[in-house]
Amino acid sequence: MKTIATCIILSLVITTSALTQSKSFLTLKEKFSNGKDVYSFSTSGLFARTILWMAGEHEFNDAIKSIKNISLITVPKSAFKSEGVTVSGFKKVLREDSFEELVRVKDHGDDVTMYIKPTQNRNNRYIILVEEYDEVVVIELKGYVDPDFLLKNESLTFANP
């Protein structure tokens, strides 16, 4: 009985997690999930807000108050090379999945692009693609982020040099 209950719960968790992630994110995850030094996790917005609250990140916490789910994956650049794929290729996947670029910031070698896939009832999907020297980080948020916060934070570098 315990085994059946565990199986049901596990299936529900996996199904829910898959539903909260976009086709683009799942494509990346499926491609690299068994790779060396690839890390990924998915958590509820509530859990993320609790962590941010504990860390004293109140402004960021406020901005994601309507976020229902957060997923993250980090992939070494070497894994892209060994799989014969590129970050530009992933950007194409994003465009095909109806993600549109909101803002791009290149600073000291890091390249950060934020995308949005607007949906009904503030159930947007946001992808933050961070391209560093040796690693690619992709964060997906599901829900709603205050545009004011997005606009203000793209230029923090310039506001506070």
Binding site: R104, L150, K152
Partner: protein, 172 residues
């Protein structure tokens, strides 16, 4: 025949280059230079403000102005010993005939110039060029620009420099 195709191809590429906006020439030159910071904001981002509710009439005006913008590009360099040279270089790359000078600010630390491009009586681009002792920045804001709202937009986005346009309001 091959030569004709090659020349035609070259002409198409060249016409593309000339069609670029002023800041594109800078981006093109320094896009792979990691000492520069670049920000590109798309029209999609500004479009997110279209249906936002405003608490005050003043906020409504700012939101309306933001939603008419089509893009923002910034190219900046901090700790730049050659900031003054970059400032001068900017004016050699920008087709000044296309712009009208709106305002200049000079203080002991930096020089700033605000230029505008008009199309059919409407301002379609605002260019801000700033060269200081150790910092340099080119900012291009394009779309349908309401100059009265630009300094407020700058405050909303925390982009330094645009608050100088307040001085122009006070002078008028």
């Amino acid at each position: 025949m091959k030569k004709i195709i090659a020349v035609a191809g070259l002409m198409m590429v060249m016409s593309g280059v000339f069609a670029q906006d002023a800041i594109s020439k800078f981006f093109g030159k320094y896009q792979n230079d990691e000492s520069f910071s670049q920000v590109t904001v798309s029209s999609k981002m500004f479009g997110l403000f279209t249906n936002m509710e405003a608490e005050t009439a003043e906020d409504k005006e700012v939101l309306d102005a933001i939603s008419k913008l089509k893009g923002l590009r910034i190219l900046a360099k901090d700790d730049a010993r050659n900031a003054r040279e970059l400032y001068k270089e900017a004016f050699t790359l920008i087709p000044m005939k296309e712009y009208e000078e709106l305002m200049s600010v000079r203080d002991k630390d930096k020089d700033m110039k605000f230029l505008i491009k008009e199309n059919g009586g409407k301002i379609s681009e605002l260019l801000m060029i700033m060269g200081g002792n150790e910092e340099f920045m080119v900012l291009s804001l394009f779309g349908e620009i309401d100059l009265k709202q630009v300094s407020r937009i700058g405050k909303k986005m925390d982009v330094k420099g645009l608050e100088n346009l307040d001085k122009m309001d006070k002078k008028n």
